[in-house]
């Protein structure tokens, strides 16, 4: 028997919140790598933000050792996958590194949109899938229904699906046995030409970029000169090893194994997810399939807030970029906000995560502007411009037409919410392609919907209308012409470029009114009246007024309590620091992101 027979490379796939990370924790604990007392909850989610939100963004990989009932010691390489639709490409590359996947289904919830989305990704990679039913410790678990759904909706045999509770540890041993049995060992030729898939990488300040890789053929060791087949760059290997977790050096990595490679690589963009590593001296004929360069779908401006230094923001963005190939930025100059950066993200969550990290890890005070998608602007002279900053939209006279990105959105829901989802999607310019009953009570709706409508608060609106029961999966489909106009906002008759948006012409009036109303609530009273106007070109289409403030005085400084009064004043001053001055008008920073969250529900 070959060493390959004792390796299993697998991922855990699940809908968000179905317990993927908890299960990973339990496996790590079971296989004795991390003492229970050292376990933070969800060991693999190593960013604070992830732990707080209960989602995994950055992948983690762990090599587990498991002694099976047949007396053999198995190496189980758990390749974690990010749990959000923004990171579908990374998920697909992680899955490509595996030979099988554990499909976690919450026995209290059943199959959800992302369950399905992830299963399809796994099937695309030809993976063997082991379904397991999680959260069996809860009274509300309905294993039979969940089993039926897995069989009906996905078409997998779930009759032998282990029933587990990742939380309590129940059924984990049975699951591991099943895993060794169901998931096939890797194949590959350790003496062939090196072909290794990069499925993740991160920047370490001592070792440079650490590449997570699955070796398909050949072997690699310290001192080898490696080549990235898609980017063509060469690096000398300084270290290879296993992720146990963390990095533990080894002699070499060979076909079928999962581990890491370091090579003094300066930024993760040079070791892109999906690229194939080979030996420069003896390269493979062709790279592994599936490589894509990460593409930004959503853009926003990030500007230093009042009192924050441009250089500090730049440094922080550079540090983040080193670790995130999907994030990019370039300098931008706004009349309203001064010097800042235009940043590109995979999606809205990715954007949220980056801006939150700026605040938390770098302690920066930044203003983020409204997110925007990339529009294709077809000019009358035939040129096609990619515009992601509304301020850069050319003069309408020169534009032949504008195209916007459309996504294919799959929404899975209990049937009682179909009506409200349909009205939501209709409000968001969605076009229903078809609808199917997956079971008697579960429906999947297929929509084509402008990405622009999804990025603001679609997910929140969906959740609130369905009490959290509906789930969403989406992917880019195509560009499509649309009647779009630039909506400008004027404060005290001055146009604020950072508040401009591109909106459908037919909705401009309603949007303009909504934004003005929202700003009226957000902008504090001033010494004078502040008119807020929405305009298309020269035409004012909506107006609100923030009245001058009349009263902001404390009647009494009682009993000589100067300290308390002072605290009030300090609080007031601190509040103002989070504001931004535009000419004579002071605008709270949240205005720039809050302003378009116009809840449909109202």
């Amino acid at each position: 028997m070959s060493y390959l027979d004792y390796i299993r490379n697998f991922s855990i796939i699940a809908h968000i919140d179905h317990g993927k990370s908890t299960l990973a924790d339990r496996l790590i604990e079971k296989t004795g790598l991390v003492q229970a007392r050292d376990m933070k909850e969800q060991y693999l989610d190593n960013m604070d933000i992830e732990r707080e939100r209960g989602i995994t963004i950055k992948l983690q990989t762990t090599r587990l050792q498991y002694k099976a009932n047949d007396g053999q010691e198995y190496i189980l390489n758990l390749i974690d996958t990010p749990g959000h639709v923004d990171f579908n490409y990374e998920v697909s590359r992680s899955l490509a590194a595996c030979d099988g996947a554990v499909l976690v289904v919450d026995a209290t919830q059943g199959v959800e949109a992302q369950t399905l989305g992830n299963v399809y990704l796994a099937l695309d990679e030809d993976l063997e899938i082991l379904p397991v039913l999680n959260k069996m410790d809860l009274d509300s678990a309905r294993p039979d229904d969940a089993r039926a759904e897995i069989e009906d909706i996905i078409g997998l045999d779930a009759s032998e699906a282990p029933e587990i509770s990742a939380k309590t540890g129940m059924g984990i041993d049975e699951m591991l046995e099943k895993l060794v049995e169901v998931i096939p060992p890797p194949q590959g030729d350790p003496d062939g030409k090196l072909k290794a898939l990069i499925f993740d990488s991160y920047y370490d300040s001592y070792k440079g970029v650490i590449i997570y890789t699955r070796i398909f053929d050949g072997r690699v060791k310290k001192g080898d000169m490696i080549r990235m087949m898609n980017t063509g760059k060469n690096y000398e290997v300084t270290e290879v090893g296993y992720c146990i977790p963390g990095t533990v050096p080894a002699e070499e990595l060979k076909a079928g194994e999962v581990g890491y490679i370091c090579g003094s690589i300066k930024q993760v963009a040079d070791a892109r997810v999906g690229d194939t590593i080979t030996l420069a001296a003896d390269p493979a004929d062709a790279p592994l399939k599936g490589y894509k360069k990460a593409q930004s779908m959503v853009y926003c401006g990030i500007f230093p807030a009042e009192g924050e230094k441009y250089e500090n923001v730049k440094d922080a963005l550079e540090k983040l970029q080193v670790n995130d190939a999907a994030f990019n930025f370039e300098p931008e100059n706004s009349a309203a906000l001064g010097y800042g950066f235009r940043c590109g993200f995979l999606g809205l969550l990715h954007m949220d995560v980056i801006t939150e990290r700026l605040a938390r890890e770098f302690d920066l005070d930044v203003i983020t502007t409204l997110p925007s998608v990339v529009y294709k602007v077809v000019m009358k002279d035939g040129r096609v411009l990619d515009i992601q900053n509304p301020s850069n939209l050319p003069n309408p006279i020169e534009i032949a037409h504008i195209e916007e990105p459309i996504v294919k959105a799959d929404i899975m829901t209990p049937n009682e919410y179909v009506g409200s989802i349909m009205s939501l999607c209709q409000n968001r310019r969605g076009n229903m392609i078809h609808m199917e009953y997956l079971t008697k009570t579960r429906v999947q709706l297929h929509y084509e919907i402008p990405l622009n409508e999804v990025i603001y608060d679609f997910f929140d609106a969906l959740k609130s209308r369905t009490r959290g029961y509906a789930s969403l999966d989406y992917e880019f489909l195509r560009y499509q012409p649309a009647k779009l106009v630039k909506l400008d906002i004027l404060l005290n008759r001055e146009q604020i470029d950072a508040l401009s948006t591109i909106v459908p012409e037919e909705e401009a009036m309603a949007k303009g009114r909504g934004i003005c109303e929202k700003l009226k609530d957000i902008i504090p009273r001033h010494q004078f009246e502040v008119p807020i106007q929405a305009a298309i070109g020269q035409k004012i289409i909506a107006r609100e007024t923030v009245r001058a403030y009349r009263k902001d005085v404390l009647a009494k400084c009682y009993g000589g309590d100067v300290s308390r009064k002072k605290k009030l004043l300090e609080k007031q001053k601190a509040g103002k620091k989070r504001m931004r001055q535009f000419g004579t008008v002071t605008v709270p920073q949240e205005a720039f992101t809050e302003v378009l969250k116009l809840d449909d529900g109202r």
């Binding site: 010494q527 004078f528 403030y549 009349r550 009263k551 902001d552 005085v553 404390l554 009647a555 009494k556 400084c557 009682y558 009993g559 000589g560 309590d561 100067v562 300290s563 009064k565 002072k566 009030l568 004043l569 300090e570 007031q572 001053k573 103002k576 004579t584």
Partner: protein, 421 residues
């Protein structure tokens, strides 16, 4: 239109040597008013007696030092200090005189609420005579309104008749320095109602009037009622209209508007309250009382049990110092910037405003070769642009000597003051 600087508004500016006052807090009342967020509650005889003992110990503890501290003012506030027995008050004042050097001309104020001085004239007279004999020479009465329904609505225990009677008796007994409090913008009250109140209070002929617009403080019955929607706050516009009309009325009646909420006949400003706005020293004694001494601000614990436990033991003379276990809610040693910042925002409450000289004196550090105005704006360089914009819009007066609010600047004074913290 500027905040009136009439004759009486300038009569306290000559004092540049620091004064010292003593504030004594009596956290008891007959019944808590619907708008009241002060540290005060109804209490029986035994806690009052216990508190008096503890308070006297604190008064003594805070006097410890080489020499007796000279007091220019004593202020007994609350709560309703007049709910204490005459004998209790007398012991407190005796202790003050024993441990401090009370200036012969010192202003000694007692907050005495109408309805707490006794129902029978003979009782009231006796009480007032006792106060006089203790040296109390100023009374401050929480009249709040002269409308029976409104008084009832606010949860006050007195009637307009009680006020008139107490006022008459106080005059009879020789009190010639009396403050009456007025609250306006009570829910349901319009400007005319408030002006009626003000007129009737003026009609009583006090030397000093304090006017406050009612604030909905969290934790008060009014706040709860407003949250439930049972009552509606008077709109800001109307509140400000009322305030300015009352200011005009009082001015016509000869009261100088010397601080945002305070009005006085010539020579009758509150000496004690002025300490707060002049960065003078004041010792605070009693539950939750604030003090500012030796450049340090403190606030006593608001926990009655903790207070009593600490101060009920009689210190022997050796230990009669703050051994570090004094129960404070907060102690803060002021930095030079704290000092100048407080000098500015408390100073802005006064009609005179704050002079750059006084502000810099609070700061305590010189900038040789520069004039006061330059130095001041150097310290507040980040506030200057906005301060000048307030000045351009008529809210603030900035000249070579200092800053002061205009009458319309009062309305938005927090925003202006917050520039300097």
């Amino acid at each position: 239109m500027h905040w009136p600087l009439n004759s009486s508004a300038t009569d306290s500016m000559e004092n540049s040597n620091k004064k010292t006052g003593l504030y004594i807090h009596i956290p008891f009342c007959v019944k808590k008013c619907n708008y009241c967020a002060f540290l005060s509650f109804p209490a029986d005889e035994s806690p009052r007696a216990e508190y008096t003992d503890a308070l006297i110990n604190e008064i003594r503890m805070r006097s410890a030092g080489q020499e007796k501290i000279r007091l220019d003012t004593v202020y007994i506030g609350g709560g309703t200090p007049s709910v204490l027995d005459v004998s209790q008050l007398s012991r407190i004042i005796k202790a003050v005189r024993q441990y401090y050097d009370v200036a012969p001309e010192a202003e000694i104020t007692l907050e005495a609420n109408p309805g707490t001085l006794g129902k029978k004239d003979v009782v009231t007279r006796t009480k007032l005579i006792a106060y006089r004999s203790m040296g109390i020479n100023r009374l401050s009465m929480g009249v709040q309104s002269m409308d029976n329904d409104r008084l009832h609505f606010m949860g006050r225990i007195h009637t307009p008749g009680d006020v008139a009677r107490d006022m008459r008796l106080a005059r009879e007994m020789g009190f010639d320095n009396i403050n009456l409090d007025l609250i306006f913008s009570v829910p349901g009250e319009n400007t005319e109602d408030a002006l009626d109140d003000a007129r009737r209070i003026i009609g009583l002929g006090p030397e000093h009037i304090s006017c406050y617009s009612l604030q909905m403080e969290e934790g008060t019955p009014f706040y709860e009622m407003a949250e439930r929607g049972d009552i509606t706050e008077v709109p800001d516009e109307e509140d400000r209209e009322t305030y300015h009309r009352i200011c005009d009325l009082l001015k016509e009646a000869g009261y100088g508007h010397y601080e945002i909420s305070n009005f006085a006949l010539t020579g009758k400003r509150s000496q004690h309250n002025s300490l707060y706005w002049n960065m003078d020293d004041y010792i605070g004694c009693g539950l939750g009382a604030s003090g500012f001494v030796y450049g340090t601000r403190y606030r006593n614990t608001a926990d009655m049990k903790e207070y009593i436990d600490h101060y009920s033991i009689l210190f022997d003379d050796e230990k009669c110092e703050d051994g570090g276990s004094t129960p404070y809610e907060e102690v803060h040693r002021n930095s030079p910037f704290d000092n100048i910042s407080e000098a500015v925002f408390t100073g802005l409450r006064r009609a005179e405003g704050i002079s750059f000289e006084d502000a810099l004196r609070a700061y305590g550090i010189g900038y040789p070769g520069m004039d006061a105005s330059e130095k001041f704006w150097m310290i507040f360089s980040d506030a200057e642009t906005e301060a000048r914009s307030y000045a351009e819009n008529g809210f603030l007066i900035i000249d070579d000597t200092g800053l002061r609010l205009t009458e319309k600047g009062i309305d938005i004074s927090n925003g202006i003051m917050s520039l300097f913290v």
